[in-house]
């Protein structure tokens, strides 16, 4: 493993699926990167393409999917892998899902499930595989692993089974964990536990994490950076610590504002009109969010905006420069009672910004130092 360059680099990924004889876009121009040991959040509503992105990365797309663009893992083109190379790739990139029960064989014991890959792919002797499984269970806080190995999935609660899934994913010593809504079906206290485990494993094992969730607060709390998806596109990538205070895309701001606040009730929630669109429903030749966006103006509907680098992050908003600095959560709290985010306080103020360019290709300034001590990832260059 080298530490030069990102571990995973997705560049211009577009995916079409065949649905009832028609080709439908499900991902459009998705680019992201994850460094060794970094956690990237991938947030979006139903149909935004977040799960499809993870499936594309793990080469789990349905038959007939047409894939454009590139996915590179540790320098190798994932789309070109086959046979043994693909198997070895999947040992290094593990995946866990929202509903663990849908991903285990209910009539096989936990031990059989956990050690299968070790025994079949890596030819580890059964006894040794069992020993490693017990170790992995201990890693996720399950101390009586030997007993668990003899149990069946139905004997375990949802939270416990999800921890078993994480332990199983760790057995092949992966470099990257793709976690697709792993805590959504869990109680909040169990969610906190599972997130703490993931966080700890990440720092201790140097595991990189793609954390997929609909929960913006959760992603922002546990990931270094967060990417927000809408209608098959990434609309924003931001340091998580800045996501609420200074979002770059109106959709991110609207998502944060629509969520009720546990600290205070408001007379009215700022609901986003309409419903989330999937990629094939959304307008293709204009901003996909424009039909629901309170900031949409004519330029927004004239062309599909490219993703541009701004203030150390990325935004796919036609008016990103005009709106910079005005979309933050502070503005929202005040706006909740007044009904409007004061738009465009600094209209035109960004005209001297030299670093914005289509596709984020122009020379990017070094990102502002990440406030956390954790790896900041590859903010500077690789998302474009």
């Amino acid at each position: 493993m080298t530490n030069a360059g990102p571990l995973l680099e997705v560049d211009g990924l577009s995916v079409h699926l065949r649905v009832e004889g028609n080709e439908r876009p499900v991902l459009r121009d998705v680019s992201l990167s994850i460094s060794h040991g970094e956690a990237l959040g991938l947030v979006g509503e139903s149909g935004s393409g977040k799960s499809m992105t993870a499936r594309a990365i793990d080469r789990l797309l349905p038959d007939g999917a047409r894939v454009e663009g590139s996915i590179r893992f540790d320098g190798a083109e994932v789309g070109a892998l086959s046979g043994g190379d693909l198997r070895r790739y999947r040992l290094r990139v593990a995946m866990i899902f929202q509903d663990p029960r849908a991903h285990v064989n209910p009539v096989r014991r936990i031990g059989d499930f956990m050690t299968e890959v070790l025994r079949t792919s890596l030819r580890v002797p059964r006894r040794e595989a069992g020993r490693r499984a017990v170790e992995a269970l201990a890693e996720v806080g399950i101390a009586d692993g030997g007993r668990r190995l003899d149990q069946y999935p139905h004997e375990l609660s949802g939270g416990l089974l999800q921890r078993v899934m994480i332990a199983a994913a760790l057995l092949t010593e992966p470099d990257l964990l793709l976690a697709d809504e792993p805590t959504t079906a869990l109680d909040v206290t169990t969610q906190a536990e599972v997130m703490a485990i993931l966080d700890e494993l990440r720092s201790r094992l140097g595991l990189a994490l793609l954390f997929i969730t609909h929960n913006l607060e959760l992603a922002a709390a546990v990931c270094d950076r967060t990417a927000v998806m809408y209608a098959g596109q990434i609309v924003e990538v931001r340091l998580s610590s800045l996501l609420h205070a200074d979002p770059l895309h109106p959709y991110t701001a609207a998502l944060a504002a629509a969520r009720p606040d546990v600290d205070r009730s408001s007379a009215r929630l700022r609901a986003i009109p309409g419903r989330p669109l999937s990629s094939f429903e959304a307008p293709q030749n204009e901003c996909a969010f424009a039909p629901r966006c309170e900031y949409a103006r004519r330029p927004c509907t004239e062309a599909s905006p490219p993703i541009v680098r701004i203030d150390g992050g990325l935004s796919r908003c036609t008016r990103a420069m005009e709106l910079r600095g005005t979309l933050g959560v502070a503005g929202h709290t005040e706006a909740t009672s007044q009904g409007e985010v004061g738009p465009l306080g600094a209209a035109g103020g960004g005209a001297d910004e030299p670093t914005v360019g289509p596709g984020g290709q122009l020379g990017a300034p070094p990102p502002s130092a990440p406030p956390t001590g954790r790896p900041a990832g590859t903010l500077a260059r690789s998302e474009g």
């Binding site: 909040v188 700890e200 609207a254």
Partner: protein
């Protein structure tokens, strides 16, 4: 639009009127005590939340209120009428339907896939209120407007609607019986954030316009904050804390309530590991012995609190 006459005969001093009174409610399933001595009162046009995690008994309470489970002991009085025992006649059962209705988490499995929205609503109105056809059409139109569905959606089948639209149908159907209290059992939990906000706003509007009371069953403290004035917190069948929602969430007294409150992700939140594991720290959060899923756990260090 606002003429959904849920309360056709307003009584004197509505603020004091108790719509629902639950006293010493107990439900046992074999050896398991699912609900253990739960009591509360709900006044007209008020909203009360029941908060808890899996296995806390909150849904069992809801089911007993609407008559889907029979209490082992204790009483449920709605609109002055005892409903602790099954209704003996169709007429009585329907009368109870006009007192309390329920909306579940998954609208898809609670709607008839072959019935259009209009027919779904029409059937309930006919059953409960027997107006003539013209009045029924008018009521259907009023209800669909109230929940924000247009004419085309009103003629659609559930499969042609999105999750948020289906949940609006489920709410409209519950309101069609003109109940005095609406039980919302995780009714917004499965909705996308942007749609959830629409439905929460809608629920606030409906309460204001109709004076219906809500029992909100939820694990989501932010949703609880948004649409309830009073909260009870349940754990393993028991009420561990109760009070005004703001007070319960801002100054939780019970360790379990504190733990719930601390588990809500928010900017700056760090998940803390409460259970021990090999090579890991055990960080006390000041909480009770952890039993996240409410199972009988004795030793968190070995069982992790789960089965």
């Amino acid at each position: 639009m606002s003429q959904v006459a849920l309360d056709p005969t307003p009584r004197a001093d509505p603020a004091e009127e108790q719509i629902l009174e639950v006293s010493s409610l107990v439900k046992r399933f074999g050896d398991l005590v699912a609900v253990d001595d739960v009591s509360f009162r709900l006044a007209r046009a008020r909203s009360m939340a029941i908060v808890g995690e899996s296995g806390s008994g909150k849904t069992t309470v809801a089911k007993m209120i609407v008559g889907l489970e029979r209490p082992t002991s204790g009483t449920i009085v709605a609109c002055g009428r005892d409903r602790s025992r099954p209704a003996r006649s169709t007429a009585l059962r329907r009368a109870r339907g006009r007192e309390a209705q329920i909306v579940f988490q998954d609208p898809y499995t609670s709607l008839d896939p072959r019935q259009t929205v209009e027919r779904t609503l029409d059937e309930v109105i006919r059953l409960h209120h027997q107006p003539d056809a013209a009045d029924r059409r008018e009521r259907v139109r009023t209800l669909t407007e109230l929940v924000g569905l247009d004419a085309r959606q009103a003629r659609a089948l559930p499969r042609d609607l999105s999750g948020g639209q289906r949940q609006r149908v489920a709410i409209a159907r519950a309101l069609a019986a003109e109940p005095r209290v609406l039980i919302l059992d995780e009714a917004v939990a499965a909705l996308d954030v942007s749609i959830q906000a629409q439905v929460l706003n809608l629920l606030a509007d409906i309460r204001e316009e109709t004076g219906v009371s809500y029992v909100l069953i939820s694990h989501d403290l932010a949703v609880v904050r948004q649409i309830s004035e009073d909260t009870i917190v349940m754990r393993e069948g028991k009420v561990v804390e109760r009070g005004p929602t703001a007070q319960v969430l801002d100054a939780p007294q019970d360790p379990y309530t504190r733990l719930l409150r601390e588990s809500v992700p928010r900017p700056g939140w760090r998940p803390v590991r409460r259970l021990s594991g090999a090579g890991t720290r055990t960080t006390g959060s000041g909480g009770p012995p952890p039993s996240p899923a409410g199972h009988a756990s004795t030793n968190p260090a070995t069982s992790g609190g789960d089965r």
